[in-house]
Point group: C2
Chain length 129, copies 2
Amino acid sequence: MTEYLARVRQAGCRLTKARRAIIAYLQAHNEPQTAASVHRGLRGMRTDLASVYRTLELLERLGVVNRESDGKTAAYAFADRHHHHIVCRGCHRKACLPCALRLPSPRGFSAVQHQVVLTGVCASCALSA
Amino acid sequence: MTEYLARVRQAGCRLTKARRAIIAYLQAHNEPQTAASVHRGLRGMRTDLASVYRTLELLERLGVVNRESDGKTAAYAFADRHHHHIVCRGCHRKACLPCALRLPSPRGFSAVQHQVVLTGVCASCALSA
DNA sequence: CGACTATTGCGAACCATTTGCAATTATAGT
DNA sequence: ACTATAATTGCAAATGGTTCGCAATAGTCG
């Protein structure tokens, strides 16, 4: 049982087939996945898209995954694979970046978590502009 | 004519009443505003919500405003008022933070813009936990 | 002022996400 | 193992933010 499944269990939630499959799917993919792509990846089982959403929301609540949103569609990835992405405003392709955030610890706040959304114009889009 | 209006003009776009009003509304409010709240703020005129969206999209394309999204609803604020927020996971109150992001310039990308979503636990929520 | 074209308002479409509910299934206790 | 019970699911329909097509309107330039 992976640590992720254990966290679900510790929260008093059940380890259903759908939850196992969704976690396994996320583990098998490095890039953040949308609910739709997770659902597509599980098309062998008859798992409803709504259940995918419910599971992802649960995992986010437990702090297992992070939800990243570009404003349209949300994408989810394991929190312990923490890094950032930059999205090209031209072609929408993504690149990964190590986390280089050095924030002065915000006064009075503890357990701070962050999410960074970067956009830019990639080299090939800059040329064709 | 404010600098913002000038930027619109320089881009070869017309200075319509709706655009003036939307820019004025954003200037009058420090916190990022949603399309819906801008629209509500303009209820004196008969400006359509779709036009609000179109204008905000234009301003974003021109780099005049930033679009910030918490995953559900997008909010817009002038790019030159750039700063960040931290939200308490307990009481959901917000605090403002200066921007202290110092990213190594991502290889090959230009015109990089960023958005940071921070959450934490504020002092009073930490006590009551 | 008049012509030309960008922009608007309106309505409807779109799409991601959420919700209500009856049927199913994981789990704890026996 | 078996059962009781409550959590979870699938389905279908609703929701809500955002976008689009198009005819009417209104900036802007000469």
